[in-house]
């Protein structure tokens, strides 16, 4: 088996603020294979966006700093590169799209200017050639009538169309890895479905790997091959998408899936959702042991997981979990208990 395209090992990104050190990313390890999609899922403030920004070296410094870990991309540690070298990586190998295409596109420039500029920055081609490629790209991301649309300003386009333009710009460098941070959160559900389908199609056609960051388990199920669940600055579970949804191990993942209202559940009106009590810990002063312990229904047993931080361990081949109480072990200990 070949080495993964991206391997993040024990990444730590801390924010040095007046109030103290915020451990936004605190020991994240994950890997992305060539041509595959990793879904990074977690609730707001869990550090998923900071993880992405750390990978491509776009964290705001100061106050943030990568204080530990490695980001091995195609054999090179990105955390060791100079700003200049990183810029090349970002332009040629890794591209990123964000939640709100209106704020990432320049409102005062036409789509053409922005596309041509990006294409020419990384390719030695004429303006005319860059424009031709730009129109091709717009066509590829499903923008109707691209030779007219390329002259538009961003505000002429709907949210979904703007996100398609962002994807076209991201594709212009033929990246090996596309990082999409909440790419469909600002979009209506019908448009979201179209954009997710488009991303998946492009991934296959360009043999491109993707990291899709989202808070939405439904979006994850839709696009991801592998899933990493983040909680309070750490990866708490990683597995293939099929495995994760069928056999979630971490109590947080279980709770998160249980808290989701079900579209197809006729009984849901009468019942109650299984809410997770409390809320995530402050990353200014995270708990010493397991970060989910305070909200975990299984913590507090004699194993002392509230005091000693559990390691991310491989429970089954390809299924990693950071908990002393994974579902399968709980089931086993129940069976093993004397009758």
């Amino acid at each position: 088996m070949s080495a993964p395209l991206l391997e993040v090992r024990d990444l730590r990104t801390h924010f040095f603020t007046r109030e103290g050190v915020v451990r936004a990313v605190d020991g994240v390890s994950l890997s992305v294979d060539r041509g595959r999609t990793l879904g990074l899922v977690g609730e707001s403030g869990c550090g998923k966006s900071v993880t992405a920004l750390s990978i491509i070296g776009l964290i705001p410094k100061p106050p943030a700093r990568i204080v530990g870990g490695e980001v091995i991309f195609d054999g090179r540690d990105l955390t060791k590169l100079s700003e200049r070298e990183l810029e090349d990586v970002r332009g040629e190998r890794i591209a990123m799209i964000f939640q709100d295409p209106m704020t990432s596109l320049n409102p005062t420039l036409t789509i053409e200017t922005q596309l041509v500029e990006t294409i020419r920055r990384h390719n030695d081609v004429s303006k005319r050639e860059a424009r031709r490629r730009g129109i091709e790209l717009l066509d590829e991301v499903g923008i109707p009538n691209p030779d007219a649309r390329i002259r538009d300003y961003p505000h002429h386009l709907s949210g979904g169309m703007r996100q398609r333009v962002m994807i076209a710009i991201a594709l212009s460098c033929e990246p090996d890895l596309l990082i999409a941070d909440e790419p469909t959160t600002a979009l209506d559900v019908t448009v979201q479905a179209q954009v997710l389908d488009l991303l998946d199609e492009l991934r296959r056609e360009h043999d491109m790997a993707m990291i899709v960051i989202t808070h939405d388990m439904g979006v994850i199920a839709e696009v991801a091959d592998q899933v990493a669940v983040m909680y309070a600055g750490q990866i708490v579970e990683q597995a293939s998408a099929v495995e994760l949804f069928a056999r979630p191990e971490h109590p947080y993942t279980e709770a998160l899936l249980g808290a989701l209202p079900q579209l197809e559940d006729a009984a849901s009106r009468a019942g109650r959702l299984t809410a997770i009590p409390g809320r995530p810990p402050s990353l200014l002063d995270p708990p010493e042991g397991c970060r989910f312990a305070a909200r975990c229904p299984y913590a507090g047993e004699p194993d002392g997981c509230a005091e000693h931080p559990p390691e991310l361990r491989e429970l089954r081949p390809g299924h990693l979990v950071r908990s002393e109480h994974p579902a399968s072990e709980r089931a086993r200990s129940r069976e093993g208990a004397p009758a």
Binding site: E43, S44, P144, G160, D188, V189, T190, V191, Q192, A193, Q194, L196, D197, H215, D216, M217, G218, V219, I220, A221, E222, A224, A241, V242, F245, A246, A255, L256, L257, A259, L260, P261, Q262, L263, E264, D265, A266, S268, R269, R272, L273, T274, A275, I276, P277, R279
Partner: protein, 283 residues
């Protein structure tokens, strides 16, 4: 028995203006283009639709926070569109609203206690002491520690703030609450807490909800009946089970097929369904 709320042929028309200094109206758009529905006491009507479908405008027009261009809104048998001033204010005691964004809907300069007490003050309910007791009771009911009455909203998380907003809406013991995207700014785990709270309050106080949201799974989990809005009109309505399991209108079908379902095993099947329905929704 007549319904608690009866809305008939509701229309809200907005002018479309052009020009930087000398604005002139060049066109009109009907954000709400003839909407009718009923809500019975103790019942939840889920009003779903995508952005711009007119669902929030409908909610505002029901409460007369925005005056409808035409149509009728009867609440407890009274025609709200004809009321104003003191009369309207009295009716509003029984019809309250909870907003989407608990960050911008609470006055940052008021303490939690004063925010919840404000409706009581405005309507001259009770003495100061009564109100103080009532505020504590309300906060307790919504699961917000009354110990923090003297704190300010910014000190609390989104979920806690939404509890403050709900306590305030409950202050006058209303019979109807318009919930305008009440959980869409919240994380899943917190969202579940608030949905459960809204259900508990409904069971306890017999509240009726007009529950406006874009998230079809959330709406299903709280609603007895559903109305699907598209471009200012209700395109389909009925009991929740019927609308979700046997949608009749192409738009509803496409909307339901677009919802990402947390089950990777069914991805291909749903994708195929979506492709089949393509064209029912405007791109």
């Amino acid at each position: 028995m007549s319904a608690l709320l009866e809305v008939r042929d509701l229309v809200k028309r907005f002018p479309v203006k052009r020009g930087l200094f000398f604005e002139r109206t060049v066109d009109y758009v009907d954000a709400v283009a003839g909407v009718s529905f009923d809500i019975a006491a103790g019942e939840t009507l889920g009003l779903v639709g995508e952005s711009g479908s007119g669902k929030s405008t409908t909610g505002f027009c029901v409460l007369q926070l925005m005056r409808p261009t035409s149509g009728s809104v009867r609440f407890e048998g009274r025609e709200l569109t004809e009321l104003s001033g003191e009369e309207l204010r009295r009716v509003r005691r029984n019809a309250q609203i909870v907003f989407q964004d608990p960050y911008s809907s609470l006055d940052p300069r008021m303490t939690v206690g004063n925010i919840v007490a404000e409706p009581l003050v405005v309507h001259g309910v009770g003495t100061r002491r009564d109100r103080r007791a009532r505020v504590r009771e309300l906060l307790d009911v919504v699961g917000f520690d009354p110990m923090y009455v003297n704190r300010y909203p910014h000190e609390f998380s989104g979920g806690q703030r939404q509890r403050i907003g709900i306590a305030r809406a409950l202050a006058l013991s209303p019979r109807l609450i318009v919930c305008d995207e009440p959980v869409s700014a919240l994380d899943v785990s917190i969202q579940a807490q608030i949905i459960n709270l809204l259900k508990d309050l409904q069971a306890e106080f017999g509240l009726a909800y007009l529950f406006i949201a874009h998230d079809l799974a959330v709406v299903r989990s709280v609603s007895d009946r559903i109305a699907v809005m598209h471009r200012g009109r209700i395109v389909e309505s009925g009991p929740a089970k019927q609308v979700y399991e046997h949608p009749q209108v192409a738009y509803t079908k496409a909307l339901l097929a677009s919802v990402p379902v947390p089950d990777p095993g069914r991805m291909q099947e749903r994708k195929a369904e979506r492709r089949r329905l393509q064209g029912a929704v405007a791109m």
